[in-house]
């Protein structure tokens, strides 16, 4: 493999930038951003509006409120990642738009890098909005002091997990022929298959530290009072729950991001419009 082939030149950076702009325009025009934006606003708003309506109190602490609110951020990340990334490569082949795109004077790797970054920006934008709304709610309930370092850590971990999710779905998009397959395989892998595998490993008392969705629990775990906290070996349920380690989790998510992104680039570059 010629590594230089994948190292962008100045001209390639310009093409990557143009592709990012074009992809963002496509996301906007297909109302994908609008749909996910609505979800990113609506979900935290439910946690803010519903308790007073039911005469329920908010959590005692800001971190407690954040942990329950952010319990849905993983789902939003997976949904956004699948929506923005699922068809980014496979769609060009399936819909034959690649006949227009790949015959232009730019390296295919610049096109794919642009597409990846655009998906990443869109997903991170949605996640950021979710955190922004949650933070505004925290400020309105608990005051500005309610915004803790842990919430900031959670936000950074959510962004890192978004990268992993986009890389995973991007990988499927680079190898699969149909957009619906690449989107659904990515979505269900992250939503169901990997959590099931995690559960199987847990039952077998093997630490699933290498599974990315297991490490995504860190997003709420770092807040401290969330729903993903480990309880240690088998006190109540007679089986072990493994709590992901922060640095190991960061490493695993980073590894998924980098390895799958690079593999996707190579796989997509090798695909031909037959």
């Amino acid at each position: 493999m010629d590594v230089n082939h994948y190292i962008p030149s100045v001209d390639d950076f310009k093409n990557i930038y143009l592709t990012i702009k074009f992809e963002m325009l496509k996301h906007i025009k297909r109302k994908r951003i609008l749909i996910t934006l609505i979800l990113a606003i609506l979900i935290p708003l439910i946690f803010f509006i519903v308790p007073p309506l039911l005469n329920q109190d908010y959590a005692d602490t800001a971190n407690g409120f954040a942990a329950s609110n952010l319990g849905f951020v993983n789902l939003l990340i997976i949904l956004s990642g699948a929506i923005f990334t699922g068809d980014s490569i496979s769609g060009e082949f399936e819909n034959k738009t690649g006949l227009l795109l790949f015959s232009t004077p730019q390296r295919k790797s610049s096109i794919f890098m642009g597409k990846y970054i655009a998906s990443l920006i869109a997903t991170c934008l949605i996640v950021s909005l979710y955190y922004l709304i949650t933070s505004m709610e925290i400020v309105s309930i608990y005051g500005a002091s309610g915004i803790s370092v842990e919430i900031a850590q959670s936000f950074l971990l959510a962004l890192l997990y978004s990268n992993s999710v986009v890389s995973i779905v991007f990988f499927f998009s680079s190898i699969m022929k149909r957009t619906i397959t690449s989107t659904l395989v990515g979505f269900f892998l992250l939503l169901m298959i990997l959590p099931i595998i995690t559960a199987v490993f847990t039952l077998a008392e093997v630490d699933p530290w290498f599974i990315v969705t297991h490490n995504a629990d860190l997003i709420t775990n770092v807040i401290g009072t969330g729903n993903g906290g480990g309880v240690g070996p088998g006190h109540r349920f007679n089986f072990t729950i493994f709590k992901p380690d922060l640095w190991s989790g960061i490493s695993v998510m980073s590894a998924y991001t980098v390895i799958l992104f690079l593999t996707s680039l190579v796989m997509a570059d090798r695909r031909k419009m037959e």
Binding site: N15, L18, K21, P105
Partner: protein, 364 residues
């Protein structure tokens, strides 16, 4: 490699420089030693500076798909300003060739060059001067023509004003001006085809590679594309045109390559091809229905090899020599047969196509 003649701002000496598109080169005046910089702009340099011969060159191109040989050692070239027709039945390898020329496929062996640049090795440079329309491409149906063409203009490093101006120009050419800001999803197949043509010509390419450009177009659209191709030819654009429509090819092309089963069967100018066609059929119309006796008389003319009849119309096969044709006419009238019209069938590409292609594959 592009070349350009620039003028020294001090002594007005003309200096010829060479470089690649988008490359900035230092220019030193040999007369007054003034130094300056020049950046090669693709749009301005292309037509004047591309090589005069073999603007497209295909050398021993072979393409295998899972053991199937789609192209078998194909070689040909296209000269600057020429329109080359690429003709062959379905599955002959026309689109495969075009995809190899536009880097959508990689050759198994052989090379495809555009302006002396190997397309497979350096596609970004090779495709700078190319506008292409391949198969029936998908269109981003949620965008408007303006939005889609803007991106492709930017990829060709056109500035905003240039893009806006060119979009209006090309949409006018393809008769889509009123649709510039409407969603492509609402377009008919023909309109989408015309938009794909607009994309191909947006950046004023020096080379056009077109795969069945008139598919899905109505007769008016076909005529518009034909006129457009002639206009481009007059501007010196080199055109590589794959088509099933032999009359279109005859109307627009300077030269034709016939391809079948992945091999070049024959090639030549339209005139050369037509000269190769053996005219061996005479179409005769008689005044009245012929009797059995009359038909016997025709059968007894030795110069006639065979004939088919339909009412008063006869198709007579002969050896193709003009003197034989003359003898047949003389003998028919001598026999007292009342001939209304007598003409040798005109040479056309369709006859030639059918004669050289395998009948089983000869789907036009």
């Amino acid at each position: 490699m592009l070349s350009k003649t620039v003028e020294c701002p001090k002594c007005k000496t003309h200096i010829t420089i060479q470089g690649n598109p988008r490359e900035t080169t230092i220019v030193l005046c040999p007369n007054c030693n003034t130094k300056g910089k020049f950046t090669f702009q693709k749009e301005k340099a292309d037509l004047e500076t591309i090589s005069d011969h073999n603007i497209i060159e295909v050398k021993n191109l072979t393409k295998m798909f899972n053991g199937f040989k789609a192209l078998d050692n194909v070689s040909f070239n296209v000269n600057k300003g020429e329109i080359l027709g690429f003709v062959g039945p379905n599955g002959a390898g026309k689109t495969t060739t075009i995809k190899l020329l536009t880097n959508l496929l990689t050759p198994t062996t052989g090379h495809a060059y555009i302006n002396n640049i190997d397309v497979n090795k350096n596609p970004t440079k090779a495709l700078l001067l190319v506008g292409s329309l391949i198969e029936v491409p998908g269109i981003y149906d949620y965008l408007t023509p303006h939005e889609m063409l803007t991106y492709f203009g930017q990829i060709h490093r056109m500035n905003k004003n240039e893009i806006n101006q060119k979009i209006k120009e090309v949409l006018k050419i393809v008769k889509l001006s009123e649709w510039e800001h409407k969603k492509i999803g609402s377009f008919s197949t023909g309109m989408q085809r015309r938009l794909a043509i607009a994309k191909a010509i947006l950046h004023c390419p020096a080379i056009l590679i077109l795969d069945e450009p008139v598919i899905g177009l109505d007769p008016r659209g076909i005529k518009d594309v034909r006129d457009m191709l002639k206009q481009f030819k007059n501007k010196g654009v080199t055109i590589f045109l794959s088509s099933h429509l032999l009359n279109e090819v005859k109307e627009t092309c300077d030269r034709i390559i016939f391809l079948d089963a992945g091999k070049v069967i024959t090639q030549g100018t339209i005139e050369e091809i037509l000269n190769r066609i053996k005219i061996d059929t005479i179409e005769v119309e008689f005044l009245n229905q012929l009797t059995e006796v009359d038909i016997k008389k025709i059968e007894n003319i030795p110069e006639i090899n065979s004939f088919e009849k339909e009412n008063v119309f006869f198709k007579i096969k002969f050896d193709g020599k003009p003197e034989t044709s003359n003898k047949i006419l003389t003998k028919l009238t001598e026999q007292g047969l009342k001939v209304v019209s007598f003409s040798t069938k005109k040479a056309d590409l369709e006859s030639f196509y059918v004669s050289i292609m395998n009948d089983e594959k000869g789907v036009i």
